[in-house]
Symmetry: C2
Subunit: 243 residues, 2 copies
């Protein structure tokens, strides 16, 4: 597993030690590459055309719009993540997906996935692992909003995003590039933009982490882990479980 592989292969490779044949099958899933501009929904709730995407570059967010007009960002996706996997498996998309930056993504249809599972059932286990990991992150966000205070919530979020980016080669324990605005953070964390601004200032003044000019820098990584009670077990990537 080297950097020449796609972020998707790097991510699944954290769960399954992929054979050359399995890597070849993953490459085939990237044959329909498309480019999407920022800020225009790629997938919208209620859409019946069942396509999913694997994100190759850029950043997107997935969100639900409530009828009253408020929006809840469910998660941000980074390279290697599935976009709209549920839309492929279900008949209709149950959420919206909006590119935050210009993105490149590979279109995947239900049949492509089923064909790959037929040829290499271990890939099914790997995709199931990736989906379970996504669920684990949503669970953490639920805990965030239900039970963590705003400062812990923000710190926890920045650590989680860092761990995910590190896995696909886009970040380190020092920090990472982050194109998210304070408005996006607010809609993800259930805070107001003003509150986001204040919490980020407090975390910076505490010497734990700074987020300025599109860069997250961990000034005290271990301190932030302790403060936020961040337990990275739920992200689980200490090397492949299936050899």
């Amino acid at each position: 597993m080297t950097t020449q592989h796609t972020p998707f292969a790097r991510k699944l490779g954290a769960f399954v030690a992929l054979s050359p044949e399995e890597l070849g099958l993953l490459d085939q899933l990237h044959s329909r590459r498309r480019t999407f501009p920022a800020l225009r929904d790629m997938v919208y709730e209620g859409q019946v055309e069942r396509s999913a995407y694997i994100l190759a570059s850029g950043r997107v967010c997935s969100y639900k719009l409530l009828p009253g007009g408020t929006r809840q960002i469910v998660d941000f996706q980074i390279p290697g993540d599935f976009l709209g996997l549920r839309s492929v498996l279900f008949r209709t998309a149950d959420h919206n997906i909006e590119p935050i930056t210009r993105v490149q993504a590979s279109e995947v249809q239900a049949q492509d996935l089923l064909d790959a599972f037929n040829t290499a059932p271990r890939l099914a286990a790997a995709v199931l692992w990736a989906a379970s990991r996504d669920e684990a992150m949503v669970v953490e966000h639920l805990v965030d909003i239900g039970r963590r205070d705003a400062k812990q919530r923000m710190g926890h979020f920045l650590l989680e995003l860092g761990a995910r980016l590190k896995l696909v080669g886009l970040g380190s324990s020092d920090g990472y590039n982050c194109p998210l605005t304070q408005y996006l953070l607010a809609d993800a964390l259930g805070l107001s933009a003003v509150h986001v601004n204040r919490v980020l200032r407090e975390l910076r003044e505490d010497g734990l982490v700074s987020f300025q000019q599109g860069k997250v820098i961990f000034s005290d990584f271990d301190g932030l882990v302790e403060f936020t009670e961040f337990d990275r077990h739920y992200l689980d990537h200490e090397g492949p479980l299936m050899k």
Copy 2:
């Protein structure tokens, strides 16, 4: 697909029209049946023994304990649901699972699942669908806590649970048996027990739904759907997608 099949087979059958061979494989997953008493954790966070279960009868809840002692119930599981699927795929359990009633459950190991996927790759797609549906429910709970008021949240929760129970033959649009206490509802919905009590009284007085003596009765199902903006697309079971 008849009532003689397990709730698990009924649930997966909503996604894949199962062949006799596939049903036989699902039956084999039920060979290690175990009984668990109420109120003692079946799986605890940090546990490294990697077993999952398929719930055959009874009710359980999955929850995270925060170091401060508060708990967030992530979801309730009903017959046919996986318990601790993530614990099998990951190295350690990332949450706790506690029986609310006495339960019967079948132990499933990672290898059992992989063997079944190898023999019948369509089962992998069905399990992936079930896991995605679980994620969709957690997403709704995130929206609940982030953006819905207490009364809508409660109504939405009771409708969702009803739709899930109906799928496995344990409920109808009239209502269902529900062994959940107000304390459990409080920990799931991010409310106090007193608040739960008040919200349930308001919903009953509005003539929408009552929850008394272990029974949920929908007095005005359509009215409750409208009030809570309940969109059952994310539960998606209008008949098998894969024939």
